[in-house]
Symmetry: C2
């Protein structure tokens, strides 16, 4: 009985956090207050307070929710691909598809990155950690590709990760803001140029 | 007399708009209401309404303020540089320096791009137009470099502009969010790789 009711509480909390994540992708994480969420879900404010204790705790759970979903949809399946270029391609394709696959509106992390860059505190810190972790995942995939001889020995994996991030940010801007129909094609070309430069032996450049 | 008092009104409006732009870079453009601005400036709400008529008109003037400043600080001086690679380098350097030179907190356009990508209306439309204009400026600088033989004949100027935008967005993320001390160095390397690929004659690749 105790387990069943814990489970029920857990499920409720999960669905509230998912709703809060969608709300944050509309109004920003700073607009995500317990009061506003209670209004939107037609729940009592005191009931939500009992779940989340504070606005900050709610925001942190929303960020954790996004990170967990990103890991499940993008990171884990990509890491199951063969090492080297295939794995980097799988990361790229899943990352490109992430805003749609996430079930949220756009990419939560892009939105949070500009909203929180000036806002010190635990939510920003958690975001920064997750972004560094993600850049490390990319760099490590490149590093194993270098070790296996798929990429040039002098490729800088961190530089590759930094540039791939830029490729994806430009995609987000072109597709989401400019509604540019050639945006995703340009993104693929930029990615191929990045891969191409990593692949070429230096002697032939 | 009439001119002097018009001038005084104009100066006041300009300084209010500049303050509003700084406020928007902190709280977001949606958080920039006439009431909130009046509170911050300790002015009467009715006085500000007389100046700006509506929240949307205020937001539009803030965007115009940013565009005008960007043109004065980045675009015009860069277009005064010699055509081709020198001009593209001047654009890049001034763009890189823009968040600091703007006197605002970070880059207004990066913040607006993620805040407004889901918000239809005149403010989003004005932003989109300005972003397309800016990508056109970059593409045109590359195009004149192709015409003058500084860049390969088959360089795609729009692709170059799209990728350079990604280079700058990654810089913003690394420097502002991650406080990554190697961020700007990575950005310069990414820019050199982009230039390098545009410069190389295709036969030798």
């Amino acid at each position: 009985m105790a387990t069943a009711s814990l489970r029920k509480g857990e499920l409720t909390r999960q669905s509230i956090v998912e709703h809060a994540a969608r709300m944050a992708s509309r109004v920003g994480i700073e607009g995500l207050t317990i009061g506003a969420l209670a209004d939107e879900l037609e729940l009592s404010k005191s009931g939500l307070f009992a779940h989340f204790k504070s606005k900050e705790a709610l925001q942190l759970q929303v960020v954790e929710f996004g990170i967990e979903r990103f890991i499940n949809i993008v990171v884990k399946p990509a890491l199951a691909a063969p090492r080297g270029e295939k794995r980097v391609r799988e990361l790229f394709e899943r990352w490109l598809d992430w805003p749609k696959a996430s079930g949220l509106s756009g990419c939560m992390f892009v939105a949070l990155s500009t909203e929180l860059d000036d806002q010190p505190g635990p939510v920003r810190e958690r975001l920064v950690q997750s972004q560094k972790d993600w850049l490390d995942v990319i760099a490590n995939c490149v590093r194993s590709g270098v070790a296996d001889g798929h990429f040039r020995a002098d490729v800088d994996p961190e530089q590759f990760a930094h540039e791939l991030h830029g490729v994806m940010l430009a995609n987000h801007h072109a597709v989401r803001l400019l509604r540019d129909e050639s945006g995703q094609g340009r993104t693929r070309r930029a990615f191929e140029r990045l891969l191409d430069d990593a692949r070429k032996p230096k002697a032939s450049r």
